[in-house]
């Protein structure tokens, strides 16, 4: 039966393809393994409480993000997020360099919290009287999220716009050719007495 994978000169075409597929599968598997898993476990302690478990390969994070337009994230990005992005990036750079360690540990009569870095992952364990939560997040997977957020910043509302739209702004209120048109709509609705400019912006 193995003869179909072998020719007189060695491996046959199907055999070579199978070997290539095997190598590809192992390389893909090794990449997935190296990126780690995002694990989330939430267990409610109340009677009949739910237990949610989630284990997702971190490698799919950049893949999934590729389908989310940076412009769309930017349009809905709060000013605070934009402001704190450099801080998060600096923290992430350092966290990735840390050895395994416990950063925060709280032990009380009713709650236990532990935040630690373990094998390149940020691990959070919370156990209180209501829930038990475990979260493991490979720090490497956050890098692609940050890169995407950096691109999204270009599309986020400028400071001048933020006072109009608040923390969560509407796409129509910054940049782009529809800006004036949108402003006109805002004014019209405002003149109708529907309330403040802010509430109008949200309703749009």
């Amino acid at each position: 039966m193995l003869n179909i994978f072998r020719s007189e000169r060695g491996l046959s075409v199907p055999g070579g393809m199978l070997a290539a597929a095997g190598v590809g599968a192992i390389l893909a598997g090794s990449y997935l393994y190296s990126q780690g898993l995002i694990r989330v476990s939430v267990q409610e302690k109340s009677p009949g409480g739910e237990h949610i478990r989630l284990a997702v390969p971190a490698a799919i994070v950049p893949l999934a993000l590729a389908f989310v337009p940076a412009a769309e994230i930017g349009k809905h990005m709060p000013a605070e997020a934009r402001q704190h992005l450099p801080m998060v990036e600096a923290a992430l750079n350092e966290l990735q360099r840390l050895p395994d360690c416990t950063l925060v540990q709280v032990d009380g009569p009713r709650e236990h919290v532990r935040i630690r870095v373990e094998d390149g992952k940020m691990v959070v364990d919370v156990n209180d009287h209501e829930d038990e939560v475990h979260l493991a997040l490979p720090l490497g997977s956050l890098r692609s999220v940050l890169a995407k957020l950096h691109r999204a910043v270009e599309f986020s509302p400028k400071d001048g716009d933020s006072e109009l739209s608040g923390a969560w702004s509407h796409p129509g209120h910054h940049g782009g050719g529809h800006h004036d048109e949108e402003c006109d709509v805002t004014r019209e609705v405002d003149d109708d007495g529907s309330g403040s400019t802010e509430s109008t912006a949200e309703s749009l």
């Binding site: 070997a19 190598v23 090794s30 990449y31 750079n93 050895p99």
Partner: protein, 199 residues
């Protein structure tokens, strides 16, 4: 047979890559030299609660300059010394600090009251403060801050506290306990050392 061996070799190589990837990650970790530890013990018995915070100073050094909120920018906190209710407006902290630095070790302030004792001194390059409340069983506060850290803290412009420089100075300084607070219900200890776990 040779080609089968070659394929097996490639498969082994791929498996090696899989195993080596996490290993190389852990190998690239650098040791954060100094760690700032905070330990709080609150209450006693079954209600006791303990909090341990371990922060690598390298993390603080990297993050603090990136903070940009309100009056905290570029690693410096802007303090409005001339504010209406600010008692520091008439005090030149830098001049006091310079004077303290140039004076020999000794006690600067000693207050002995009926209930409280306060002592501020300079001892071996440290600014030392001791507060004792009550006669016995009252709270005790001991602070021992390296002078370099205090100087770094005040190294910015007027009305600024240079937090980033203070953290850097703390990292360059040796291990030691900075603050301890002991009272009837709680204990607080803040120290710097090279271990990444609090003990």
């Amino acid at each position: 047979m040779k080609k089968l061996l070659a394929v097996a070799g490639i498969l082994l190589l791929a498996a090696g890559v899989a195993l080596a990837a996490p290993a190389s990650k852990s190998g690239s970790k650098s040791s954060a030299d100094k760690w700032l530890h905070v330990r709080v013990e609150d209450g006693s018995g079954t209600d006791a609660e303990t909090v341990h915070v371990n922060v690598p100073l390298s993390l603080a050094e990297a993050v603090i300059p990136a903070i940009n909120v309100d009056n905290f920018k570029n690693g410096k906190v802007h303090v409005d010394m001339n504010g209406g209710n600010n008692h520091l407006q008439d005090v030149d902290i830098r001049k006091i600090l310079t004077a303290l630095r140039d004076t020999p070790d000794g006690n600067f302030v000693t207050v002995e009251g009926a209930g409280d004792n306060v002592q501020v001194a300079k001892q071996g390059g440290y600014l030392v403060a001791k507060v004792r409340e009550g006669k016995a069983g009252g709270s005790k506060v001991d602070a021992r801050i390296p002078f370099q850290v205090v100087e770094a803290l005040l190294s910015g412009d007027d009305n600024e506290l240079n937090i980033a420089a203070a953290v850097r100075a703390l990292g360059e300084h040796g291990d030691g306990v900075l603050v301890t607070v002991d009272d009837e219900k709680s204990k607080v200890r803040i120290w710097v050392d090279s271990k990444n776990e609090s003990q």
